[in-house]
């Protein structure tokens, strides 16, 4: 028996775990401002993440999904995309969302239980975060189809976790991206864990990137903790999407150093030893070492950056905490463009109920 088709999944990594280049670096890495921007965004993302968890622990934020250890992915998506591209994020992409114009206070509003955190920035066509797993992939295919139909020059970037690759929507979206030659880039944040289920219980395949092969699109695997590799893969995939109308699946291999969310306790199902080992691979220290190696970064810059990040995050937190709750009738007002006549009486009932709850609350 002879094989009819043979496939290989390319793997990219440019920096070793100490941040030393393993290979000749892509040309774009000569843009030192960009390298610094990557580093700064990753540090800002982690600063925010720590603050968000602290807010949740002190009762000032609802359940929050940490991005700890996965900062390279959101950062590189945000920096590689052009304004006219469209981002269809899941819930670990705050770095990308903020780089594309969202405020940190909006991210907090969303996880703090306020609909105004749904990326309500009127100028953006990006979709809000998607909580039901993998449904965003079919929508992203629709966004990319709209670009094709309208002759729009941009590309669509959609993200998901490793668990999402088990869902039909994931495969359906890859499939149509192949058939219709959609300008779509699918990024899997493969952080090894879907809440408590490890990757080897999710799939028997040797990689997630190879799922692209069955859809007739390119699949690549990158070290998701090497920001050079992640940015480069995105850059190439975006170029291919924009100019050749070809979709790409990028599997960014990383590790979830945090619990799934603040409502989770990962010590129930994985060892501290495993987590400790994975701290050796995390993206930020690696990149700082890389910048040190290029003599682009020193201790003063690091201190200034940490201070700036703290300031930025504190400003976002202040804005979030100062935000008064929305008028309660908003829960009716945004259902349809116009409030249907049949909902007027319920709208009034909502206003009255909220007023009476307020009164009782003040009286108590």
């Amino acid at each position: 028996m002879r094989g009819r088709h043979r496939f290989a999944i390319p793997f990219f990594r440019y920096l070793d775990e100490e941040g030393r280049p393993e290979d000749s670096l892509p040309l774009w890495t000569r843009d030192h401002d960009l390298l610094k921007a990557i580093y700064e965004s990753m540090v800002l993302t982690r600063t925010f993440d720590q603050k968000a968890i602290a807010l949740q622990r002190t009762g000032q934020l609802g359940t929050y999904p940490s991005t700890l250890g996965q900062e390279a992915i959101g950062t590189c998506i945000g920096l590689a995309m052009a304004a006219e591209d469209v981002l269809v994020p899941y819930y670990r992409d705050s770095a990308a969302q903020v780089l594309r114009g969202m405020g940190w206070e909006e991210i907090l509003l969303y996880w703090g239980g306020d609909e105004r955190g749904g990326n309500a920035n009127i100028h953006s066509r990006d979709l809000p975060v998607c909580v039901p797993v993998a449904t965003q992939l079919s929508q992203a295919a629709g966004v990319a189809t709209a670009m094709t139909i309208k002759g729009h020059a941009g590309a669509t970037v959609v993200t998901c976790g490793d668990g999402a690759t088990s869902k039909g929507d994931f495969l359906e979206a890859l499939n149509v991206a192949g058939v219709w030659h959609l300008p779509l880039v699918v990024v899997i944040n493969n952080n090894q864990w879907a809440i408590s289920v490890p990757l080897d219980q999710q799939t028997a395949t040797a990689s997630l990137a190879q799922k692209a092969i069955a859809a007739g699109i390119d699949g690549v695997q990158v070290d998701g903790n090497d920001a050079i590799a992640v940015y480069d893969a995105l850059n190439n995939a975006l170029e291919k999407a924009r100019h050749n109308a070809q979709a790409t699946l990028i599997e960014a291999v990383t590790y979830r150093l945090s619990d799934h969310t603040t409502a989770d306790d990962a010590s129930r199902y994985r060892s501290q030893d495993e987590v400790r080992k994975n701290w050796q691979h995390e993206p930020i220290l690696r990149f700082r070492n890389f910048l040190h190696g290029l003599e682009l970064w020193d201790v003063e810059q690091e201190q200034a950056l940490l201070q700036n990040c703290q300031k930025t995050v504190d400003a976002g937190v202040d804005k979030y905490l100062a935000q008064k709750p929305e008028a309660p009738e908003a829960m009716i007002d945004y259902l349809y463009e116009f409030v249907p006549a049949s909902l007027e009486s319920q709208r009034e009932a909502i206003i009255a109920k909220a007023a009476s709850l307020n009164k009782n609350h003040q009286g108590a």
Binding site: P128, V143, E172, N175, N244, P340
Partner: protein, 350 residues
């Protein structure tokens, strides 16, 4: 490099005909009215795009989209891979970017993979972005029994959809209604589930004014005036109800027949005005009885017009069972005798 969807299979696709439209009276069936409305709106508005299974070269399994790909090209009439969840997800993505997708789900029995997209996303997009994005999409779905179709091809699960805030659920009952309501559905800025009663797809030809005039959504249509009893229904059962109303008129019983037409949001005012006048109400639907839209209407009437009632509100419906296959389907389906019988009971109450 120009982008191209690789959907082009026919040379005819490239021959775009001019799409100028003047008032045109067409004798047509309900399914032809759907086609006319789609054609009209696609000519008028470049953002209207059709997608679904077999909607292109085949023109849809019921021929609702026939010749549209020839006229508007493969970029506006998309044959999708066979995946209903995908069809709904694609429509949402397209709608958020300023297109007006009109998706076809081939039969209502196959809509379920699409429900997650419709319920968790289409219905909520405006709300969860506080109006930044919206989902002006239409999902057309042939539904209902009575055509001796195979299993999963005859269900009426409109109540599942009518329960979802943020959706509109619209059901035409004739060719003229289908034309006007479909235009309205496509132009509506929010997601509309457009349920087409396939039992009457070819039942009757009507004179359709193909003039782009939409009918109002969120409104019941009073089809006959009467003072003795209010008869409420939608979709294919309206034909049976009309027959009964005519028969009753011969016996000097004046029935007010109301085509509910939009099941979500529900125009209770028209219904209540009628029931307050007649004091008697019978609701007819093909869907199973418990938890059906009829139950909601009856509850509203009892809350808001109890003292005007001269008899209990009653229902003529399908049974609370799985839609039987073709051989037993006539037992399941409400018919004119069931309706007549219930009207007589209600009139004789007390």
């Amino acid at each position: 490099m120009a982008r191209q969807l690789s959907l082009v299979r026919s040379d005819r696709d490239t021959e775009n005909e001019p799409s100028g439209h003047q008032e045109n009276i067409v004798e047509g069936t309900l399914v032809e009215a759907v086609n006319l409305a789609l054609r009209h709106e696609m000519s008028r508005d470049d953002s209207v795009v059709i997608l679904g299974e077999d909607v292109g070269a085949n023109g849809g399994v019921f021929r609702a989209t026939v010749d549209l790909r020839e006229q508007f090209g493969p970029l506006r009439v998309l044959d999708t891979p066979l995946a209903e969840g995908l069809i709904a997800g694609l429509s949402i993505g397209m709608a958020t970017q300023g297109l007006r997708p009109v998706a076809e789900i081939q039969f209502m029995g196959f809509i379920f993979p699409a429900l997650e997209q419709l319920v968790c996303h289409a219905a909520r997009m405006r709300n969860r972005t506080r109006g930044r994005l919206s989902c002006p999409l239409v999902v057309r779905v042939p539904f209902g029994g009575g055509i001796h179709a195979p299993e999963h091809h005859s269900e009426s699960t409109e109540a599942l959809l009518a329960h979802i805030p943020g959706l509109r659920v619209v059901v035409p009952s004739s060719a003229v209604k289908a034309y006007g309501l479909l235009l309205a559905a496509i132009r509506d800025p929010d997601p509309v589930i457009f349920l087409e009663p396939k039992r009457i797809y070819h039942a009757e030809k009507q004179r359709i004014h193909d003039n782009g005039q939409a009918l109002p959504l969120d409104t019941c249509f009073t089809l006959s005036q009467g003072t003795d009893l209010t008869l409420l229904s939608w979709g294919a059962m309206i034909s049976d109800c009309r027959e009964v109303v005519t028969k009753m008129a011969e016996r000097d019983i004046a029935i007010e027949l109301i085509d509910v037409a939009t099941l979500k949001p529900l125009d209770m005012e028209t219904i209540l005005t009628s029931v307050r006048k007649t004091g008697r109400c019978v609701i007819v639907h093909e869907a199973p009885r418990s938890g059906g839209v009829g139950a909601e209407i009856a509850a509203e009437i009892s809350e808001r017009a109890l003292l005007d009632l001269k008899a209990p509100v009653s229902r003529v419906t399908g049974f609370d069972t799985i839609m039987p296959y073709a051989r037993s389907e006539t037992v399941y389906m409400p018919n004119t005798r069931d309706i007549e019988h219930q009207i007589e009971n209600t009139l004789g109450f007390g």
